[in-house]
Amino acid sequence: MDLFYLGLAAFMLLTMLVGMIRVFRGPEPEDRLSAMQLFGTTGVAVLLLLAAAFNSPALRNTALIFALLAVLAVVAFVRAPARKSDSDQGEKP
């Protein structure tokens, strides 16, 4: 166990907690999503640092999964089919 990497990981976790303020506040949905994207990247960095601190490959695999799948949420936000506005009588004025 390496205290230097552990401390750095704790520091980055703290940055994530502070960055959460943007998720609370952000007026636009994109603001919240970009804060989430920063969480994702910081999470990958934390995992890599912890992998170096504990010398465990399983942590690196988890980091790989995080990095690979971080795209999905944003792509779903942009590309998921929205509710049709011209459908029927249910549309609100």
Binding site: S87, D88, Q89, G90, E91
Partner: protein, 104 residues
């Protein structure tokens, strides 16, 4: 073992927050998220009991159970969301807070 106590008490708080949200929030999507938080709390309770001995030997049985639990949670979430979508399709004039009136 202090870590065990810390995490299992956090799990208790999570479960209670989830139950509270499940009862008090009215939007159906929020209820689904509350259910997911409850299951997260239960998993945390199980995993922290598996960790009681500390680092040398975590009990594998609760971990296998939680792995199955995650499968069940995802399936249930997907089913609930499909049902919510169907409810909205059939009641297009329902309120957003999930208060689906029986319109005549």
């Amino acid at each position: 073992m202090n870590t065990f106590l810390l995490y299992s008490l956090a799990a208790v708080v999570l479960i209670c927050l989830g139950v509270h949200g499940l009862i008090f929030r009215r939007h159906l999507l929020r209820k689904v998220m509350a259910l997911n938080i409850i299951s997260g709390g239960i998993f945390l309770l199980l995993i922290s009991t598996a960790y009681r001995n500390g680092t040398e030997a975590a009990d594998p049985i609760p971990q296998a159970m939680v792995l199955t639990g995650i499968v069940v949670t995802v399936s249930a979430t997907a089913f609930a969301l499909a049902l919510i979508r169907r409810i909205h399709q059939d009641n297009p004039d329902a309120d957003d807070d999930g208060d689906f009136g029986d319109r005549e």
